[in-house]
Symmetry: none
Subunit: 231 residues, 2 copies
DNA sequence: GACCACACGTGACCC
DNA sequence: TGGGTCACGTGTGGT
């Protein structure tokens, strides 16, 4: 029976550190009798006290740990540890997720995807599909639809941008439009989850005709290269 | 090697009980005899085994916990707990930081959403009519409508700003809202000649209630004092 | 009275 | 030799 041995072993085995490996006390068997004798009482009491202190410390730590964990299943010692373990895992996962999300955002920033076409479906399928050029695997998608083709001499135009939500992206877009010589007459922006739809009606400030792809490229450029906005 | 340790166990177990046996203090002088008697051997062994199992479980958990913590100071039991505690705190902090960063991003970007219309005309006539008081000759006209009076504890609010068109004003307004702790859920901005109407639906990030006039004053402040935006 | 989880004191170990 | 740590078996109180 007693596999007990195993129990302990298993433990030791996993942490091979082993070295100390516990007990093994060599041949204590033999000695035995005087073996115990050799310990003085005074010292024993010392040990006793020390052990008490140790236990207290351990318990304190355990409770501190429990205090950190938001929801505990039981107040069992084992449960404390188990909950703590789960909590740590959960936190780690959370951190990882947040980090990738942030990262994506951030380089999506560069990558605002503008996808879909807008409103009255007259907006033509003039599409710019941008793929992340730079940093690897990340996809940057842009789709841009505008009605410039209809009448390039017209002052008022409509565009739609569909892109991932990114920090500062909107502001940069607005700034970009202004930079390109457009007055924004009307804007309608909506976000669903991480997808943003922005519909503009703009008016040219100057008299030149509008080059559709110049607009697209410039906006992409702006969205990508701009330094981080303050907000 | 390790087993031998067990060896000891096995020994104890078998003779197990046996009574008094010395070791344990027995000083229980008085009671002593029958006291221990009252416990059946079988049951004791049960307890023994159960205790072993419990210990094993605890240790396993402890080691699992240690395995999760990236850098450990010692392999001490107390250290395991201590390190775990610190690690959890660290993770929590990390999560918090990432979240606020993301949130900021996000509400920048939310800033992105400008949607149109929105206006079901329920926007209530809570008015702040601001006249350019301070900075000189320029008259600034502001009208501000918000529904904060309805339920200050409500997270989602709607506001309308009517103002003269000014270069960069819109961007500053968005930034100001973010600065005040609002997430912009929906925006609808329209300009007619030099008059701009901006309708927001916002959500508070924090839990404090909203001070209507604080919002108004702050927005005005932001709109007025901010350095010049590019747009 | 079974079961469970705990605290205790103790012997052994290591630096 | 001594402070610190550990595993163990046991007693006990709360279900």
């Amino acid at each position: 029976m007693k596999d007990q041995t195993n129990g302990k072993i298993s433990v030791t085995e996993e942490n091979n550190r082993s070295d100390q490996d516990s007990d093994h006390k060599n041949g204590d068997e033999n000695i035995d009798g005087e073996c115990r004798k050799k310990i003085g009482k005074g010292q024993q009491s010392k040990n006793l006290e020390a052990e008490r202190k140790r236990r207290k410390k351990l318990n304190d730590r355990l409770y501190s740990l429990r205090a950190l964990v938001p929801n505990i299943s039981k107040l069992d010692r084992g449960a404390i540890l188990g909950d703590a373990i789960n909590y740590v895992k959960e936190l780690e996962k959370q951190v990882k997720d947040l980090q990738i999300e942030l990262e994506e955002d951030s380089d999506d920033e560069n990558a605002m995807k503008i996808v879909r076409n807008s409103t009255d479906n007259k907006v033509p399928p003039l599409t710019l599909h941008q793929n992340g050029t730079k940093s690897g695997p990340k996809r940057e998608k842009w789709k841009f639809f505008g009605d410039f083709h209809k009448d390039p001499k017209e002052k008022v135009h409509q565009m739609e941008v569909l892109c991932e939500h990114k920090h500062g992206g909107f502001v940069r877009l607005i700034e970009g439009l202004s930079y390109l010589g457009f007055q924004v007459i009307n804007v309608n922006a909506t976000r669903h989850k991480c997808l943003v739809s922005i519909i503009f009606r703009v008016e040219r400030r100057d008299k030149e005709t509008v080059q559709a792809d110049h607009v697209k490229e410039s906006l992409l450029e702006v969205a990508r290269n701009q330094f981080k906005s303050t907000v």
